[in-house]
């Protein structure tokens, strides 16, 4: 409330008056376009590649000019890394909600109060669908199949309301391209759009189509667990949790009703299910009872958190130091097995984010290869299989820019690994029963443990 602000304000007032008078002239033209700015969920979608080109746009109502993306580009410039672009942005007339998947931005334009999670979930679903249809979600693939993608988008959303997002249902309406069908269509002028109502759309089990037939009936379940952990300098666990998922591939004739039971279901802290799972049975008996969708799907996600002790499969002994004087430092890392339940650790990989002033690394690895990327300052040490008899070690010297001070920030290690035939939480499937159909299916369960965000501080 000081007088200083006064002048600035009154001059702003004057300029806005002149803007008003200009505005009235254009009013008659904008009448219709104003009408379009109506309430709905997702108004438009833009697909934007890594370098900031819009390569596909879809509007569910009126066309919104691309200039709306400028706000986004501005923020993207500032964020430097695309991962750091905040997902919700406010512009004078719209909200922009975006996700970053496969080096692409899926940017949606919103005009009213909409649950942002709703939009983000939907955008991920779009990306999932593209991935599912074409094997990957990339600019090239989308451009190669642009009309199918466009048809899919139209089928997935109507007036901003999600319409069909189940892959099973979509595939009945718009068939995914296969080499054979493309050839046949080209020759016969056939269509890749189904002309009957997808059977799943309306039944109480929208995820499964009717009349499924297989000659080989099989049901496979992959229990995949990712360890998210932070270990401190001394190797003590700061926090650790397990994100688990059961991926299913079910190819069964008819309407099978499956029951999957665990040896130790009480391990699970929190679960989220595919809509097919009967929640009541889980609540009362801790079994998964469901009529499965046809094909691949995620049956459940679960979470085992720090309340239970999480086993850490490897130990890391590391020392990375920079000398106070002289442009150099030393690095010495050794990795060994810890709690592996007798299984072999494979695909072991260590990623080290070096301080910005590091210009080169002269290291020797007793096992595997290492690379140093000068641009990103990342050392990647690809070890492969962990041999408990001969522990892998990486050591050597680091050079920093001459004249640069000792780096302020500590580098951090990220570990990647895989352990086959082990769910590190100890979760075990005890049996799978099938009801409702007569035949005997082939059943299988596989376990896999991976490192998720597994980080060692130095």
């Amino acid at each position: 409330m000081t007088c200083l602000y006064l002048r600035a304000h009154s001059s702003a007032g004057a300029s806005s008056v002149s803007r008003q008078s200009c505005h009235i002239d254009t009013e008659l033209y904008s009448w219709h376009s104003h009408l379009d700015l109506a309430a709905e969920m997702i108004h438009s979608l833009f697909l934007i590649n890594h370098s900031g080109d819009i390569f596909l746009e879809k509007h569910w109502k009126s066309v919104i000019g691309r200039s709306v993306c400028d706000y986004f580009f501005e923020v993207k410039e500032k964020a430097v890394d695309p991962e750091n672009v905040p997902p919700v942005l406010q512009t004078p007339h719209h909200y922009l909600i975006s996700i970053y998947r496969g080096k692409l931005f899926f940017l949606s334009v919103i005009q009213t109060e909409v649950p942002p999670l709703f939009v983000i979930e939907f955008l991920h679903r779009v990306a999932d669908t593209i991935q599912d249809y074409f094997g990957e979600c990339s600019e090239n693939v989308i451009k190669d199949n642009v009309v199918t993608v466009y048809e899919l988008l139209e089928e997935m959303l109507d007036n901003g309301f999600p319409l069909a997002t189940e892959s099973n249902v979509l595939k009945e309406m718009i068939r995914p391209p296969t080499i054979l069908r493309t050839v046949v269509n080209t020759l016969t002028g056939g269509s890749n759009v189904g002309d009957t109502l997808p059977t799943g759309q309306l039944s109480n089990i929208p995820w499964r189509r009717a009349g499924v037939k297989y000659t080989n009936n099989e049901a496979y379940f992959d229990v995949i667990e990712e360890i998210d952990a932070i270990l401190d300098k001394s190797g003590t666990t700061v926090c650790a949790e397990i994100q688990g998922v059961i991926e299913a591939c079910v190819r069964l004739t008819g309407m099978p009703d499956l029951t999957l039971s665990f040896m130790n279901p009480r391990l699970l802290d929190d679960v989220s299910f595919h809509p097919c799972v009967r929640f009541k049975r889980w609540e009362s008996e801790r079994v998964l009872s469901f009529i499965p969708p046809d094909g691949n799907f995620t049956l459940m996600n679960y979470h085992v958190s720090s309340q239970n002790l999480v086993a850490i499969p490897v130990w890391v002994k590391q020392s990375i130091s920079f000398f106070e004087s002289g442009p150099s430092g030393r690095l010495d890392i050794t990795i060994g097995p810890k709690q592996t339940m007798g299984k072999t650790v494979e695909n072991l990989k260590v990623t080290i984010h070096m301080p910005k002033t590091v210009v080169s690394a002269n290291l020797t690895a007793t096992q595997g290869n290492y690379t140093f990327d000068l641009a990103t300052k990342v050392v990647v040490w690809d070890i492969g299989k962990l041999n408990p008899q001969k522990l892998p070690n990486l050591r050597g010297s680091l050079s920093t820019q001459t004249g640069a001070p000792k780096p302020d920030d500590n580098p951090s290690l990220n570990i990647d690994l895989k352990i086959q035939q082990l769910a590190i939480s100890g979760l075990k499937v005890s049996r799978l029963d099938m009801y409702g159909e007569k035949y005997k299916p082939f059943k299988g369960v596989k376990y896999l443990t991976k490192a998720g965000k597994f980080q060692v501080r130095t």
Partner: protein, 956 residues
């Protein structure tokens, strides 16, 4: 072969070639051509010129081709309305097709073609589809009603579609129910006052049944709808909670968060001693934790909401601290949010862990994150008293790293720690002083100076330190200058013998060589204090400061309650009430948490009524502050006796004093604490030491008071009889030239609480005009005609007629530019004419816009200063009472008035029809025709309009 081939033809003759292909006899060629057209469309090329050729392909048995043509139609129909009519017949025919897929597709597409003429044809097919035997068609038709309503709301109401839609809530198919709910919710959003979604136990039961069976998206619509329901008692509340809880295990995070919203809201009604209450609390934690393992974008939204949840119910996540630990490769926006929540969850039990983490973060790469981590350590110290010592030593460790920005942040937070725990950690001052030279950010410099001034008696070379800053005084930022001034005065009061020269130097720099009014004001005040009564000066400047607390960063309780009702929405992401988004039309309804139904157990759940926006100022503070400032102003202007240079000319003095009072309003309004971690001089005009001083005013310092701040709440009968509301003179809105002879001039008025649009219609044509009707476009405040345009007799040539059209404010809302712009369509027997006009915003000032004084105070304080705008009204010759009267006539209410040195300050409140409050301070000085008006509003967009109205109301 892939679709990328469609992108290759960018030559000039492309459109021409496509045209030929579209008209080809070969089906396959046609389809390929349409695909090419669609491909061009997707990348934003304009292919609208091909409209007739594409529409010609519509009559086909090939479903894919049909779909493609529909896609094209939706995109371009609006630019070619006449051509689009060509498609109508096919649509109507397709709506009768035996294949439900085609019926649904046709009705869906028709709804997307936003052309009036098509809309008319849509009604009959839509009516049939709403009652179709196939649920797929019904659910598609339900959405279509929402689309149609958006194009022509009146039509939907007239045709009775809303009732059909309501019936669909009882449909046997859950997907149909979900879509009907979604459509009704969307329609209700543009009619905030309508009772479309009439929720009663029966409908709730139906919704809960459908909830279990419909798709994940439908579940979100239903849950969001449920959240608007207020259960009758705790038993109903519990039964709804029980049926919603399973949704917490859904794979879709939006379903989970919507369920959390319902549970958080209904939980308020459950008695706390109920077993179920505890069970529910336990059930909420795991799904919230799981949300944090999702994709980073989902995590971000989840974290923003968890931030609200932990403020409302910290017990839910109190054991889950570790999941908020930051990982190296989290995106920065996730890192910052996690940090915030870590501090909120910090307690004595987990503080060691938290501090170890924060220290770790302080050595990360990202500067923003590191800074926030250092600040977080300070906040922990203030929040958890037992940890303060550990925090200080952690900060000292960080200072030893000598990383420049870490040191600066550390010093800023240590200053806060000193304010929270005075006389406890002074031993570290020596270490701080070592880093004096490396400080280059104003905030850190100011913090350091404050510390030196505050503890001057324990720092041997305090004078040297401060003197070193004084050298470049004029290059410092205001913040640093103000601190330096205060610090040197403190130093002088503590060590008067050695520092006389220094204090004279700083006073002269501040008062004589500076253009900054705040600085000059403060300088003069000190100067006069010191020169008249050094003992009093000591009492004021070195007074004990009130302690700061950690609560300053909490969201205000009423806002928090409202935000809890909006979990999962954009409001919850921005932590702003939905009314702050003018564009969102829901602003009118302020949602409140239901009160607990239990008997006496609701001790810690605030009663909504008593918590309604009032943060009462501690009574002990305000009067003494009033006394103090009164005293300051009544100091006589005797020549100086002891120290210092001669006082400034008295006129300058008065000006300074008045400004001080203006600036001081902020500190008067609020509680005693300064923003934590914010700048030291809370308000620009009042320094830390000074602003805080009044808390401990000795009684001996009381002198006669005249026109002090205690007048602020004295209405003193200054409000006289209200006069009529201001109405601007009529202006020509629609010249006859533009409207085939019809001229419309008009104005707006507010009479007895009803907004009237007063128009003069003049027929300047040669023939009689009849059949007048009027419609408004959506506008910022939902203005809509409350009745038809009453022109009963035909208007003969050269005749004029006066019409008064009552307006309601429940129409559809859309933000206009300028805000008060209104687009009007007037129809007569000749044609439809469009014009736009602007209404004075004062039409929207409602009669019950008088705010309680306490609420005013709290609100003024609560609205951030960024939302304040100041305007000047020139050449106005009313005195303050007349102005107040005049404004009251237009529903601008004066709540308080105070007079300072001949300047009257009126504090006024106004409420708009959509519930937005505007607070104003109007300064009127006798003999000065220029008024100053400062406006504060949560929706600052309206300030400019309100100011224009002020000017118009005062000057007419």
């Amino acid at each position: 072969m892939t679709d990328s081939k469609y992108f290759t033809t960018t030559k000039k003759g492309e459109i021409f070639e496509l045209k030929a292909e579209l008209n080809s006899d070969k089906k396959e060629k046609k389809k390929e051509a349409v695909k090419k057209v669609i491909a061009s469309m997707t990348v934003g090329k304009d292919v609208s010129a091909l409209f007739p050729d594409v529409v010609n392909c519509m009559q086909t048995d090939n479903l894919e081709l049909k779909k493609l043509v529909y896609l094209y139609l939706m995109n371009y129909a609006k630019s070619q309305p006449d051509m689009a009519i060509m498609a109508v017949n096919t649509f109507v025919k397709d709506c009768e097709d035996p294949n439900p897929l085609i019926r649904a597709l046709a009705v869906r597409t028709m709804g997307c073609i936003r052309v009036d003429k098509i809309t008319e044809y849509l009604c009959e097919p839509l009516r049939k589809c709403l009652k179709d035997e196939d649920p797929y068609v019904r659910k598609t038709a339900a959405v279509c009603v929402a689309k149609l309503h958006d194009i022509n709301a009146q039509l939907v109401e007239d045709q009775g579609f809303l009732d059909t839609l309501k019936d669909l809530i009882s449909d046997s198919n859950p997907m149909v129910v979900a879509n009907a709910v979604a459509a009704l919710s969307e329609i209700a959003e543009s009619h905030p006052n309508s009772n479309l979604l009439d929720l009663n136990p029966q409908t709730i039961n139906k919704l809960l049944t459908a909830l279990n069976e419909c798709t994940e998206w439908g579940q979100i619509f239903i849950l969001d709808c449920l959240a608007n329901y207020t259960p009758r008692d705790d038993r109903e509340s519990q039964s709804i909670c029980e049926r919603v809880t399973p949704r917490l295990s859904h794979a879709n995070s939006a379903v989970v968060l919507s369920a959390v919203k319902v549970l958080m809201k209904f939980m308020e009604m459950l008695p706390k001693d109920l077993d179920y209450y505890g069970t529910l609390l336990k059930k909420l934690a795991p799904p919230l934790v799981t949300l944090l393992s999702a994709e980073p974008e989902l995590q971000y939204v989840a974290l923003r909401n968890i931030n609200l949840i932990v403020q409302r119910r910290p017990e839910i996540l109190k054991h889950e601290m570790k999941v908020f630990f930051v990982k190296y490769n989290d995106p920065i926006y996730v890192k910052l949010e996690k940090l915030d929540i870590m501090i909120r969850l910090a307690s004595q039990a987990n503080i060691a862990q938290v501090l170890a983490e924060l220290k770790e973060y302080a050595t990360e790469v990202d500067v923003d994150f590191v800074r926030k981590a250092v600040r977080a350590i300070g906040r922990c110290a203030i929040k958890v008293e037992q940890s303060a010592e550990r925090c200080v030593s952690t900060l000292l460790d960080l200072i030893q790293t000598k990383v420049n920005y870490v040191v600066q942040e550390a010093i800023v937070v240590i200053k806060d720690i000193f304010r929270k725990y005075p006389n406890k950690y002074e031993s570290v001052i020596a270490t701080l002083c070592e880093n004096l030279d490396s400080l280059d950010e104003p905030e850190a410099r100011a913090a350091m100076i404050w510390i030196v001034g505050e503890y001057a008696e324990r720092i041997d070379n305090a004078d040297e330190l401060l003197e070193s800053f004084l050298e470049g005084f004029h290059d410092e930022s205001t913040q640093v200058q103000l601190q330096l001034l205060t610090a040197i005065v403190k130093l002088f009061l503590k060590k008067p013998t050695e520092t006389q020269e220094l204090v004279q130097q700083v006073l002269s720099l501040a008062t004589q060589d500076s253009d900054n009014p705040d600085l000059r004001d403060r300088g003069y005040i000190y100067w006069r204090l010191l020169s008249t009564d050094p003992v009093a000066a000591k009492e004021v400047v070195l007074a004990e400061k009130p302690l700061i607390s950690e609560e300053t960063d909490l969201i205000e309780p009423t806002l928090l309650e409202e935000l809890i009702c909006h979990i999962g929405t954009l409001a919850s992401v921005y932590h702003k009430p939905p009314s702050a988004f003018v564009e969102g039309s829901r602003g009118v309804q302020h949602k409140r948490l239901p009160g607990s139904a239990g008997s006496g157990e609701s001790v810690d759940s605030p009663d909504p009524a008593s918590a309604a926006g009032v943060t009462e100022a501690p009574p002990a503070v305000i009067p003494s502050q009033g006394d103090l400032l009164g005293d300051l102003l009544n100091l006589d202007l005797t020549p100086p006796t002891a120290t210092g240079p001669p006082p400034a000319p008295s006129s300058g003095m008065q000006l300074g004093a008045m400004d001080l009072l203006g600036g001081g309003l902020d500190s008067l309004m609020g509680d005693e604490s300064e923003p934590l971690g914010g700048d030291i001089g809370g308000s620009a005009a009042m320094g830390a030491g000074f602003g805080a001083a009044p808390a401990a005013m000795p009684a001996s310092f009381n002198a006669p008071v005249s026109g002090g701040l205690d007048d602020l709440f004295d209405l003193g009968g200054s409000v006289g009889m209200p006069m009529g509301a201001y109405s601007p003179p009529k202006t020509v809105w629609l010249p006859a030239m533009k409207a085939k002879g019809l001229e419309i001039s008009g104005t707006f008025a507010r009479r007895a609480g009803v907004i009237q649009m007063e128009m003069t219609l003049t027929n300047k044509a040669m023939s009689v005009m009849t059949d007048f009707a009027i419609q408004f476009n959506r506008n910022s405040f939902g203005l809509a005609p409350a009745g038809p345009l009453q022109v009963l007799t035909p208007l003969s040539p050269n005749q004029s007629i006066e019409v008064s059209l009552p307006l309601s404010t429940v129409g559809p809302v859309m933000k206009m530019e300028p805000l008060t712009n209104l687009q009007v369509a007037v129809k007569n027997n000749i044609d439809v004419f469009y014009f736009s006009c602007q209404y004075p915003i004062s039409m929207l000032f409602v009669e019950d816009g008088k705010m309680e004084r306490q609420v005013f105070l709290a609100t003024w304080k609560d609205i951030p200063n960024d939302n304040e705008s100041q305007f000047q009204i020139k050449d106005c010759h009313l005195n303050s009472d007349a102005a107040s009267n005049k404004l009251q006539g237009s529903n601008v209410f004066t709540i308080a008035k105070r007079t300072v040195e001949g300047q009257d300050m009126l504090y006024q409140s106004t409420k708009l029809t959509n519930g937005i409050w505007v607070l104003a301070e109007l300064r009127v000085q006798a003999g000065n025709p220029n008024y100053t008006v400062s406006l504060k509003c949560r929706a600052p967009e309206v300030s400019q309009c309100v100011f224009q109205s002020y000017e118009a109301m005062l000057k007419n």
